[in-house]
Symmetry: C2
Subunit: 279 residues, 2 copies
């Protein structure tokens, strides 16, 4: 833990629904509220499970929680122009849904396609974001562009570093866009501290996602670790984003099958403890 | 396939033993020789299977094949200074073994440890290489430093880009060191073309490894693809290294469990075909 920032107050921690996938939205929100967490970031699957956006909002509001993010839109890359246009339409609807839910942001997974070279894909992402930026402004929801780890370059994201995320945001005009810094995706980056500082200077850090990289990780989709169980200096990276001016929520997003097998309320206790000891 | 270079002549293609893992070294070498391949890069496991270095050399020589590389040494990163010293000793012995085998290079996997921050790990790698560089000169074997994909940063390599590999080589004095460009590890790098050109300018490209990234890849260890089965523009990257002055072997290194199940001689035919059509 390098240059440790202040210990986190749980009131500024939000947990992503996927983190406790086995729980219903209602049970998760009650569990979070009882432990003093401040928010919940909601995956679309959790809205479906709750029976719709209005129902989900009622649950979240009833628990007194904020919603940093609705997860997830984007997927702007395709060799087919019609598919690209459809993606823009879908993202507009997702922004509406986020507004209805009271979410501050929509997380944007950039997208990638085996038919589209990565550099060209980044053009699709830029054009896609451009196509929804006005709508984001109109509904008051921020687009959180999330660079994904290079191991997703083949199927999910042609934006694989903070630098690339910043470059795309800087090409767009309009304030409701920023970059989501997820430690899982960026921890290995030799330019990490410098890039976080550059993002901060440009006013572009809109989210901070915490989890860990397990050194014996078994698959690239659902084997992320809880903070403290892996190799990432999560606390050090939080220090970087806070020195760069970020004072928003710490979002705990652990897509980790290993943790779904156990008792989820005990897991929430553990998450709370790790927010204090390893984040 | 962008700016395609000339079609490869198989006489400048070597296949790594791991590519056809089910085959004995003898069967692999006979299969390669019969098809006109020029060489075989030998993993240590294949030497053990053959009964020792002298036996392996007899097999390779008998088939009329060259040996671009002995695979693999390195693993220089540890929080324990004794372990680091042991790694240097082991790499010296590996260089001796490579000389005995008649291999041009030893492939260096840099190493990484959950106890050692990545930047510090790169110091260990630099010091480790420094500790074997004279010996490499003495035995006439080149150290091929291989940057690995960022998804190995937690357990196998703190050197995750060509730029980092070049920086380490440039800090060392002595000619018998270079960077192995493996398309699997570097294809996603937005600076790829520029970095390959910089490596070439510095005279530091010592190897080119070909395989593919399967868009539905299931694990990060043994699910690599044959050229043409995935998303990498292998031919385009070969063009980059050749424009940068590289004229050495194309080494086919497919660590791909999917392919080990089938008939390996038919697979060698397929590899030959893909060297022509997709490399």
């Amino acid at each position: 833990m390098s240059e440790g920032p202040d210990q986190i107050d749980l009131s500024r921690v939000a947990v992503h629904t996927i983190t406790c996938k086995p729980l219903s939205l209602r049970d998760l929100c009650e569990g979070l509220s009882a432990r003093g967490f401040g928010g919940v970031s909601v995956w679309r699957e959790a809205i479906d499970e709750a029976g719709g956006t209005a129902e989900a909002k009622a649950i979240v509001d009833g628990a007194g929680l904020r919603v940093p993010a609705l997860v997830r839109g984007g997927f702007f890359v395709s060799a087919d122009p019609e598919e690209r246009a459809t993606a823009i339409d879908e993202n507009r609807r997702l922004l509406d849904q986020a507004a209805e839910l009271g979410a501050e942001m929509v997380v944007i997974v950039p997208g990638s396609s085996s038919d589209v070279p990565l550099a060209e894909g980044r053009e699709h992402v830029t054009r896609g974001l451009e196509g929804v930026l006005n709508h984001a402004e109109n509904v008051g929801v921020t687009l959180a562009l999330e660079p994904l780890h290079p191991m997703y370059a083949g199927d999910r994201s042609c934006v694989n570093s903070l630098a690339q995320g910043r470059e795309i945001c800087e090409r767009l005009t309009g304030g409701r866009i920023g970059v989501a810094v997820d430690v899982y995706h960026v921890w290995w980056d030799p330019d990490l501290e410098r890039e976080i500082a550059a993002l901060g200077k440009a006013g572009l850090i809109c989210a901070f996602h915490a989890c860990d990289w397990l050194s014996d990780t078994q698959n690239r989709l659902t084997d992320r670790g809880l903070m403290g169980d892996g190799v990432i200096d999560v606390c050090g990276i939080r220090g970087m984003v806070e020195r760069a001016g970020f004072d928003g929520d710490v979002e705990v997003e652990v897509i980790g099958e290993r943790y779904w097998a156990g008792d989820q309320m005990a897991y929430l206790d553990q998450i709370a403890e790790r927010c204090r000891s390893a984040t």
